[in-house]
Amino acid sequence: MNGAEATQAPAAGAQPYVVLDGVGKVFTSTRTGERETVFEDFTLTVRQGELVAVVGASGTGKTTLLHLVAGLEEPDSGEIRLADGTGRQRIRSPGAGSARNRLGVVFQQPRLLDWISVRRNVELALTSAGLDPAGAARALADVGLAEYADRYPSVLSGGQRQRAAVARAFAVEPELILLDEPFSALDQLTARRLRLLLQELWTARPRTGLLVTHNPLEAAFLADRVIVLDGRPARVRAEFTVGLPRPRSPEDPQIFARHNEILAALG
């Protein structure tokens, strides 16, 4: 908690790292043919080294937002600009293909391959990213799963499986980390432990990240900036800068103060 170790939130002047510029996305129901506008001329910027949390009720397009950035969905209009480590930009827009940064993604479910060991799961992500698979052991040790590396995911607890998913996301040395309701499928105590673990990993090696959650407390605890989203089409209802140094304590009254502000904005 002392000032020397604490990392400050990145300066507001840091370069834009992820930019959604006038993005539109319409879903057409395959059954009814009904068109639903999820995003219309939507703009959002995540600066380098910043962890931005997007909070909103379900159905506000949070997950779609994450899918757009991850390249799992293509925008219908507008463009998504992604900077890489050297500051070069990759542009994703309709018809421009799907340039992708090296991503680490933690989904709500661990999404591990059940038929191979935990270690092998991490190794596959490493080799696919062109990295040395030997890094898997270290990544698993960092999340406290060293002893479980050679087990099948199915023998691990839910929390352990999600730890493995976190290890995989950090192991690939991602330019961008995407967190999609990462701890909402876990019990409260496990979720709290994993949030602390995530903070620890983040403090050790800060990256740029986008966290999508419906939990205002999680957003206030983890993020540098919190964006409250309103749905259909999505628009930014409110924005908060958390501005607290890391490591933070989940009991810090200032976190609760931020949490209350976010709650009020969610209304």
Binding site: L72, R100, L103, V105, F107, I116, A125, V172, L178
Partner: protein, 294 residues
């Protein structure tokens, strides 16, 4: 799907389990293997007793009918047995069996490769699905006899004839079950593979094939059962070797005991392949599921 296969895997070994103490390569008898052994003995009793009873009724009933009728068209059990042992002791049996298995093996391999490619493509691409759907439906309805006749006409006494006939009869069932398996493959895992940039090869090896395994096995069973039927027909009409050809010879000689013996032996070989090879392969590849049960 998972539950289904595990349930089957639990039931099946009952009939296939070797008698206790068989298998020369058994690992040292730790407490655990002893436990599984005694479980196997119980399972053997549960599964083998009804089978033994059925065989007893069949053989006994047959003998009674044969003796009562006194007809040469219904040979009694000793006559069938002596014909059977006669066949087994001759090299002709092994040559014929080898020829038939080779043809089925090649045809099935052809069907398998085609079905994996087409089935996965059907599951992924709407156009491909619509394109191949009629072909699969037609393929499933056309009787094996028709494939056999057509292939004999087109390819004559070459190896192509049985291979194509087997492939044509097995591929539709295999394709259908692989297509269904592809549809059922977890889209969440596909997204994971996408964001971590799995190569086509990595996806195939670590995502698609393991996910499709249950579908592959059920498709393989169905496809093989169709393949056996068609291979016998092809060999009857258009080949000069193989189990079907020998069956036809026995038929021409009006040797009922011979027909029965060849049929019984062929069925026995199939049972060994099904229970011995397919099932142990399925259990081996499904080891990770066992980890959950421990």
């Amino acid at each position: 799907m998972t539950h289904h296969t595990t349930a089957m895997a639990e039931v099946r070994p009952a009939t296939a389990a070797p008698p206790p103490g068989a298998g020369s390569g058994t690992p040292p008898a730790t407490a655990r293997t002893r436990r599984t052994l005694s479980r196997r003995v119980r399972a053997f009793g549960r599964g083998a007793l009804p089978v033994a009873a059925f065989l007893l009724v069949l053989v006994g009933g047959w003998q009674i009918v044969a003796v009562r009728s006194g007809s040469v068209l219904i040979p009694d059990v000793p006559a069938v047995w002596s014909a059977l042992t006669d066949i087994v002791t001759q090299p002709l049996f092994y040559d014929s069996l080898g020829a038939t298995l080779l043809r089925v093996g090649l045809g099935f391999a052809l069907a398998f490769v085609t079905a994996v490619v087409v089935g996965i493509a059907m599951g992924r691409v709407e156009f491909v699905r619509r394109f191949f759907e009629p072909a699969v439906l037609i393929g499933l309805t056309v009787p094996g006899l028709v494939w056999a006749l057509l292939c004999v006409i087109w390819f004559g006494v070459s190896l192509t004839n049985p291979v194509v006939a087997v492939a044509l009869s097995a591929a539709p069932a295999l394709t259908l079950s692989i297509y269904q398996g592809t549809r059922a493959t977890d889209s969440a895992l596909r997204e994971m593979a996408h964001v971590y940039r799995f190569s086509v090869w990595t996806s195939l090896r670590y995502l698609w094939l393991p996910s499709l395994l249950p579908a592959l096995f059920s498709g393989a069973r169905l496809g093989l059962s169709l393949a056996w039927k068609v291979i016998v027909l092809v060999e009857m009409f258009g080949m000069s070797s193989g189990v079907g050809y020998e069956l036809n010879n026995q038929f021409a000689a009006q040797n009922v005991a011979g027909v029965l013996s060849w049929t019984l032996l062929f069925a026995a070989v199939l049972a060994v392949l099904e229970y011995g090879v397919l099932q142990s392969l399925e259990r081996r590849l499904g080891r990770w599921r066992k980890a959950t049960a421990v």
